[in-house]
């Protein structure tokens, strides 16, 4: 019974655990519930992936109603892969949350914090797994509303403004997505993605469908902080509590990018429709802007978390670059970068959280000499930083290599140059932290800092280890990414 209902359980487990946390708010119970739910969700994702690899696309009818009438859950390799990434990051972060939340959140709000965390997880999973366009919107809003709250719980009053900004931008984005879905529904009468795909592809060039595509593109771009629409992201990630920053940085934008894959390639049929619009060219320009402008801005940040947030915007550029190229290799590079960036950025945020836990400061100078006081933390940080650069043997190298190969295949050697050039900028900002941490004399709180408690340190180390593991043994991640990319290019769902 559990196997047959896996797709539903994937979302329902965190969704049920969330209200439980709100009812049993006292003591450590919310954390235990969260831990159990997030690990169960990870187990579900693993089992689902096995099923997808064995049986191909898994379809599950909620309420037992057949597809266009009821809501369908439809899981192919791409979904299952994103589910694994999201639940994996969640499962690693929850053990970290215990100490981190105790130090950052007031006692009477902790239970609610976990409620919000679980709702955010459930929302992201719901968006990823569903095969119904309107259901995407509903679960997107669950994850968005809960992330506004998570951010607002941040360190100082600027968190409130960041959260408000995000709320406005996020709601506009979600409303754009609803408009797009509404136009598609008006023209086809259906909301099921597979059903939509078969109907939309016969309406090539219809103004309403093009307009729907435009609204979906802008809406999703707002949600994933594509370059000129990214202004909410640095503030939000910089002021959120450490747990929330790491979780959101690792998962939220990835799910939005998944929506791009789903709509551009599965629904609109990439080759036939999207490539005839100016979207690929637009994405190419914006991706390059993100890779260079956002990375350059990151270099000049004093706040470490804000620097990492800008770096996220830059890294999203790599993923959208793959989408704009549109070949199977490029898409595989993008998909594998979803995983890689989730590992790297969640890990970096967790490790910064460890340092902040000890030095109580967010500025780069506050970390002076910390490399000598917290060698494990800073060592892992440096490893992840090298991965961001794309040093061979780390995950960062794998995705950049794939994107480079894809660009070279298309004969666009200048792009390969750009990709390498952007690594240089990454080196500037990551190098700055590493330089301060190892070559400055410790001062202030950093002088007496010791390694963070194991509960905080281990999750960061695990992610750093994962970045090495998936950098050396690429058969798992690349195998899945190639499979998913092939399905996308073929437009199969």
């Amino acid at each position: 019974m559990i196997i047959a209902n896996l797709p539903a359980l994937q979302v329902v487990v965190p969704l049920v655990a969330a209200p439980l946390c709100a009812i049993f708010r006292a003591g450590h119970r919310p954390w235990r519930i969260t831990l159990a739910a997030s690990w169960a969700a990870f187990a579900c994702a693993v089992a689902l992936m096995r099923r997808v690899l064995d049986e191909g696309t898994v379809s599950y009818m909620l309420g037992g109603w057949e597809a266009p009438l009821g809501i369908e859950y439809r899981i192919d390799t791409l979904n299952a892969f994103v589910l694994l990434v999201v639940t994996g990051v969640g499962a690693v972060i929850v053990p970290y949350a215990k100490r981190s939340v105790e130090s950052e959140i007031q006692p009477d709000r902790r239970g609610w914090f976990y409620t919000m965390f679980l709702l955010c997880l459930a929302g992201l999973l719901g968006v990823t797994i569903t095969g119904d366009a309107f259901n995407i919107f509903v679960f997107l809003e669950i994850s968005s509303l809960s992330s506004y709250v998570l951010i607002a719980l941040g360190r100082d009053r600027r968190a409130l403004v960041a959260s408000y900004q995000y709320l406005i931008m996020g709601t506009i984005g979600a409303t754009f997505i609803v408009i797009g879905i509404g136009l598609l529904w008006t023209m086809t009468g259906t909301l099921n993605l597979a059903d939509l795909a078969s109907r939309v592809r016969t309406m090539e060039g219809a103004p309403s469908v093009l307009s729907a595509l435009a609204f979906l593109t802008v809406g999703i771009s707002l949600k994933l902080a594509l370059f000129p629409l990214h202004l909410w992201l640095p503030n939000a990630y910089a002021s959120a509590p450490s747990t929330a920053s790491a979780f959101l940085a690792g998962t939220a934008t990835k799910v939005a990018i998944y929506l791009f894959f789903r709509f551009f390639f599965t629904v609109f049929g990439g080759e036939n429709f999207v490539s005839k619009t100016p979207i690929p060219e637009m994405f190419l320009v914006l991706s390059l802007c993100a890779m260079f402008v956002a990375a350059t801005v990151a270099v000049f940040q004093e706040d470490v978390k804000r620097m990492l947030a800008y770096s996220s915007v830059a890294q999203i550029g790599y993923i959208t670059l793959g989408i704009s190229l549109g070949t199977q290799t490029a898409l595989a590079g993008s998909i594998v970068h979803l995983l890689n960036h989730a590992i790297m950025k969640a890990g970096l945020f967790l490790l910064v959280g460890c340092m902040v836990f000890r030095v109580r400061g967010f500025r780069v100078e506050d970390l002076a000499g910390i490399g000598h006081r917290m060698p494990l933390t800073m060592g892992a940080f440096t490893l992840l930083g090298l991965s961001m650069l794309g040093v061979p043997g780390t995950v960062g190298f794998v995705s950049k290599w794939y994107l480079g190969v894809a660009a070279a295949d298309l004969g666009q050697w200048w792009l390969v140059g750009f990709i390498m050039l952007s690594s240089l900028i990454t080196m500037l900002y990551m190098g700055r932290i590493v330089e301060v941490a190892y070559f400055r004399v410790p001062s202030g709180a950093a002088a007496t800092a010791t390694e963070a408690p194991a509960g905080l340190l281990v999750p960061g180390l695990v992610l750093a280890g994962a970045s090495l593991w998936f950098g050396l043994d690429t058969s798992f991640s690349l195998g899945l990414a190639n499979r998913a990319a092939a399905a996308l290019v073929a437009g199969v769902f």
Binding site: M1, N5, A8, L9, V12, L15, V16, A18, P19, L20, A22, I23, Y60, M61, L62, G63, G64, W65, P68, L69, G70, I71, Q106, D108, R109, W112, F113, T115, M116, L119, A122, G126, F134, N135, V138, F139, E141, I142, L145, S146, V149, A152, I179, L183, W185, T186, M187, T188, G189, T190, L191, R199, A206, P207, S208, L210, S211, A212, A214, F215
Partner: protein, 350 residues
């Protein structure tokens, strides 16, 4: 009535309401007195609700009245009481806003040339999926109100998500507004900190007429909520509308008799449990379907006869929606009202 006159009446009402809404929206944008903006916003919502009824969306119209013209206005007003009521003169040049708006307008107008004309029965949206709902829902679920059938059963999972959205919003407001001022009494979770003084003052001016009027109205409001809840299968209504109506009753009571009196009727502790409990009821119904051997949220397996099962399932999930919605609306109201009292006490303490 012949087809022609019916069509012209529909078009006339539709057009009139649309133009009024445009006027109200323009007023909202231009006015700088925020009280006026909020009231005009209520008018706008009410016009929208009337238009929804004219468009045959009776359930939606009912919800929009309760939410847009009811709860939203109350929330906005209580926030205005906490902040200020006049908007500063805009200092931005409207260039960015104009460009953004123009791009959106152009791309939608571009699409609208392609959309089917208003009221056209041959539009593609009426050919696929919807006819099946109309044909099958009464037979398969036993509910003549198709909206309820689709909402609670065919697309019941969306509604579970919707309930979770309410839970998220409600708890979000609680996280932000309750317990942040640690030194204050006022409304606290658990009801432990309910201070006897200060919370008793009603928010509206204390008059006999209001009290008597509210007392007469209250039972009818609650009765109406129950009617809307249990009649939702057959007429417009359902858990959401009923939840809002029930909460409105208590809010009225709180406005006239003071938040403390309302909290004796609906204690904070109970309300805080209601918010998550409804989602649990809804999700639990889904799990029950799974345990009985069906898919998640499959109600047909809940009883020997599928239609009976559907009936019970719809009843259970609508109750879940009711519990969460009424609890959340009250919790949000308490949170804002408690903030106001904390502020007043602080002012008095200085």
């Amino acid at each position: 009535m012949t087809g022609v006159t019916s069509e012209s009446i529909v078009l006339f009402v539709n057009t009139a309401l649309l133009l009024l809404m445009c006027a109200a929206a323009l007023g909202v944008v231009r006015l700088r007195n925020l009280f006026a903006v909020v009231m005009l916003g209520g008018v706008y919502s009410f016009l929208m609700a009337s238009l929804m009824v004219a468009l045959d969306a009776v359930d939606v119209g009912m919800t929009e009245t309760a939410v847009g013209a009811g709860i939203s206005v109350v929330l906005m007003l209580s926030v205005l009481g906490l902040t200020k009521t006049r908007e500063a003169a805009p200092r931005h040049r409207p260039l960015v806003a104009l460009v953004v708006s123009a791009v959106v307008a152009v791309s939608l107008l571009y699409a609208s040339g392609d959309l089917p004309p208003f009221g056209d029965p041959a539009a593609p949206a009426h050919q696929h999926v919807a006819p099946e709902y109309l044909a099958r829902a009464p037979v398969e679920t036993g509910a003549p109100n198709i909206v309820t059938a689709v909402l609670a059963s065919y697309r019941g999972y969306d509604t579970l998500g919707e309930t979770a959205v309410i839970l998220t919003g409600g708890i979000g407001v609680l996280v932000l507004l309750l317990g942040a001022r640690r030194r204050r009494g006022g409304v606290r979770q658990g009801g432990a900190g309910e201070s006897p003084e200060g919370t008793g003052a009603p928010m509206l001016r204390d008059t006999v007429i209001l009290r008597v009027g509210a007392k007469i109205l209250l039972p009818f409001i609650l009765l109406f909520a129950l009617y809307v809840q249990f009649h939702g299968d057959f007429g417009p209504g359902g858990g959401f509308q009923a939840g809002v109506a029930a909460a409105t009753g208590v809010v009225l009571y709180a406005l006239v008799f003071g938040v403390a009196s309302a909290q004796r009727v609906a204690p904070v502790r109970v309300v805080l449990v209601m918010v998550p409990l409804g989602v649990l009821i809804y999700a639990g119904t889904g799990l029950a379907g799974m345990l009985a051997g069906g898919n998640y949220l499959d109600y047909s397996v809940l009883a020997h006869d599928p239609v009976h099962g559907q009936h019970w399932g719809i009843f259970a999930v609508e109750s879940g929606v009711f519990v969460t919605v009424s609890g959340t609306m009250l919790a949000i109201f308490y949170a804002f009202a408690g903030r106001r009292q904390a502020r007043e006490e602080e002012g008095a303490g200085r």
